[in-house]
């Protein structure tokens, strides 16, 4: 370690486009402060590449505070890296030490094809939402007063917990089956727990699960890996709830 910080070896996935095969490239960075965020370390690497006339590494990011769900790096074999309950952008370099070699790869899943380097296509999530992740209410100035439907605090809190999913896809990237069950069940649960969402609950779960399958996400075999890596602590209970919703909808649906 120099007095200015850590020296690190980075093994980074480079892939020109979805048609390219891709490979790992090795880069050295030095003087990395422990106070840097992981993405600031990536910025430092990129600045170095640009100054040397090379192409920087592409990666998704925007808010850099753990809420937009853009950042999505597989670091040393773990979605969002070694820390728990954080996204990649919230990971800090103090979790690493001088001389470390760090592997940085994109999410890997058939349903999330690589676009370039570390950037993947997660629009499958959007299409699942388009299939039913909503309550069918039009905008109007005449919806009933918000307090006319009291909701037990517990239900509201559970719905909120499920609703904190940021759609990052770490659950899929982490699952050996590339299942999207945690993501889908979070939305199904949120809406099924609220009286406003109950009316369409059956169609919703059938449509969303149908789209999930069509997108090529794998099936769930209850390994629980998704819950461990989920930066927002979305609970496996949601998957259980969705399975119940799905069963009862499949049996009673008139479709």
């Amino acid at each position: 370690m120099t007095e200015n910080g850590m020296n690190l070896t980075l093994k980074v996935w480079r892939q020109k486009s979805d048609k390219d095969k891709g490979q790992i490239e090795t880069y050295q960075v030095k003087d990395i402060s422990e106070h840097m965020s992981f993405l600031e370390m990536m910025d430092t690497m990129n600045e170095q590449l640009i100054t040397a006339g090379k192409e920087p590494v592409a990666f998704d990011h925007d808010c850099r505070e753990g809420i937009c769900g853009s950042c999505s790096l597989f670091i040393n074999g773990e979605a969002h890296g070694p820390d728990r309950g954080v996204t990649t952008c919230q990971l800090h370099m103090r979790k690493f030490k001088d001389g470390d070699t760090i592997y940085i790869e994109p999410w890997r899943s058939k349903a999330f094809p690589v676009i370039k380097d570390l950037v993947v296509d997660r629009t499958g999530f959007d299409r699942i939402m388009n299939a039913g992740g909503f309550i069918s209410v039009n905008t109007s100035g005449n919806t009933q007063d918000a307090n006319s439907i009291p909701i037990p605090k517990d239900d509201a809190d559970h719905a909120f917990d499920a609703a904190t999913c940021i759609g990052c896809g770490a659950c899929v990237a982490t699952c050996k089956n590339a299942s999207a069950m945690l993501f889908v069940s979070a939305k199904v649960s949120q809406l099924a727990l609220l009286p406003q969402g109950k009316i369409e609950a059956k169609d919703r779960v059938l449509n969303m699960v149908g789209q999930m399958d069509a997108e090529g996400f794998g099936s769930c075999t209850n390994t629980g890996a998704c819950e461990v890596e989920c930066p927002k602590g979305i609970s496996l209970d949601n998957i259980a709830r969705m399975n119940r919703e799905f069963m009862s909808a499949s049996i009673t649906s008139d479709k």
Partner: protein, 671 residues
Amino acid sequence: MAKLDAKIPEGPIKDKWTNHKNNINVVNPANKRLIDVIVVGTGLAGGSAAASLAELGYNVKSFCFQDSPRRAHSIAAQGGINAAKNYQNDGDSTYRLFYDTVKGGDYRSREANVYRLAEVSTNIIDQCVAQGVPFAREYGGLLDNRSFGGVLVSRTFYAKGQTGQQLLLGAYSAMSRQIGKGKIKMFNRHEMMDLVIVGGKARGIISRNLITGEIARHSAHAVVIASGGYGNVFFLSTNAMGSNTSAAWKIHKKGAFFANPCYTQIHPTCIPRSGEYQSKLTLMSESLRNDGRIWVPKNMKDVEAIRAGSMKPVEIKAEDRDYYLERRYPAFGNLVPRDVASRAAKERCDAGYGVNATGEAVYLDFASAIMRYGKEKAIIIHEPNASEARIQELGKKVIEDKYGNLFQMYEKITNDNPYETPMQIYPAVHYTMGGVWVDYNLMTTIPGCYAAGEANFSDHGANRLGASALMQGLADGYFVLPYTIGDYLANDIRTGEVSTSSAEFDEAEQVVKERLNFFINNKGTKSVDHFHKRLGKVMWDKVGMSRNTQGLKEAADEIRVIKEEFWKDVMVPGELNELNQELEKAGRVADFLELGELFAKDALDRNESCGGHFREESVEPDGEQKGEAKRDDVNFKYAAAWEWKGDPKDAELHKEELTFNDIELKQRSYK
């Protein structure tokens, strides 16, 4: 100044919006199907507008640069959203929300717009709850409220520290429903590169597909710009990395006036920067000032000891601390508005009392609150003889329940435990009140081109109150635009599809392509960030929290120098027809460089202090308010709307005089 007509409806303020809605034209449902609307942006403003317009029957094309509409910057809003529901029965009303917003904006906003905002605020909450937005609730199952930023009532609805996320996911779900029905065509990872004007009307845009680099033409009968604020002109801000001014700036250069660019909100409680590599700043919600006390050491020797690491803040005795907000503003103390709190922190740090290595940090201390809550709790649970350690334990639990997620976020970033040692905070750029000038209908000075959300200048005057940006974004998108745009589109029912094979589209596309080619072929030596950081430093040092004539003139000159160097020496690696994040940034920084100069010009022109705009030449000379900001209503009671004339330095000023019929102009005092 015939050009600047705000189109404020006649009649008493409380009837204006209702009368207006009753009098404007509407498009019948069958005809809506023949009309296309482009919405740039999927934040609260753009997302809600796109969904509502599609529900009405228009064909909507929606654009965002992120990979999903759900990731727009609105997602990051923490604290809450205001609405005059008066659920707490504490005397809130449409008028009070209107009054607070006009006063909070230091009397530099348009009364009629603000009143309408307050009026529709209650509908927003109803709409969001119907969509399934899980707002915080009380044990009885009814909605909870918190108080925010210096107002006297509890009108802020919230969802823990993630209010923006929950509201945006609500709007996104409404959009998803319309995307599923084919009424919204979604273009994610697409950037709007320019506006196309045909026959004097906004008729389309040129877009770039950020994955393939493909340049495409999109036509429409109207274009809505909801592209967010321009705080990133400072490089460092609490905004998301991609937040930019380009869409707004492009329409400005095509004829939309840009209003009050110098009105910027610098938020007092953000995590200080830690080094040169810093890429963005993180907000610590305003709600923390309800319980945190702000201070710096009184004695320079303690400051030095702290910086040298030989002393800890907890070791400094109460009498050796300067609780400077409580000292200067005994009436409001730590709860003065954002602009006042920020300037006071800067004053202490400029005087040398900053408590970290960079000299730009003050303490936000929860120790007193922990003890106070601990004692209250001990009494409630019948432990009158609780030891100090026990009281602390109880107090920390109370603080955790209130602010747990913020404390955790702070600890993740700084590695300091704020339950044990005071937080370090410093002001940071947060929000831009200025933006594209719009009339009462949210139309810009280009017919058929609208601006909504943070991108427009409309409702917050010179300073925005906490929890009112979310309110404005959703008001614009759900409840204002869907009506006002119909009035304009009613004349377009026979137009038919707008062709993209016209000289105007050819030319716009040509200009876009040339600029992109230029960047790729420039082969300079310095990265885009190099220039962005330099611009940011000039903005912060000379156009930041405190501004003066000399600094502002220097800033404009220095920005021009950076701009020149940028065009000569910027290095954009990679290719045109692929995902190229440096190319995206280059276009945005080019626009920031122009905006920065107009910003400095506007700040120079406004020789008064108001809200977030503080001119050192305009302070109270004596009396109780000595040294405080001095507004000048005689000379500056207007919105400054700038017209593009080929170069920021030649921009022409148009004044919209502001009239106050329903609120008396007063000095803001917090002493």
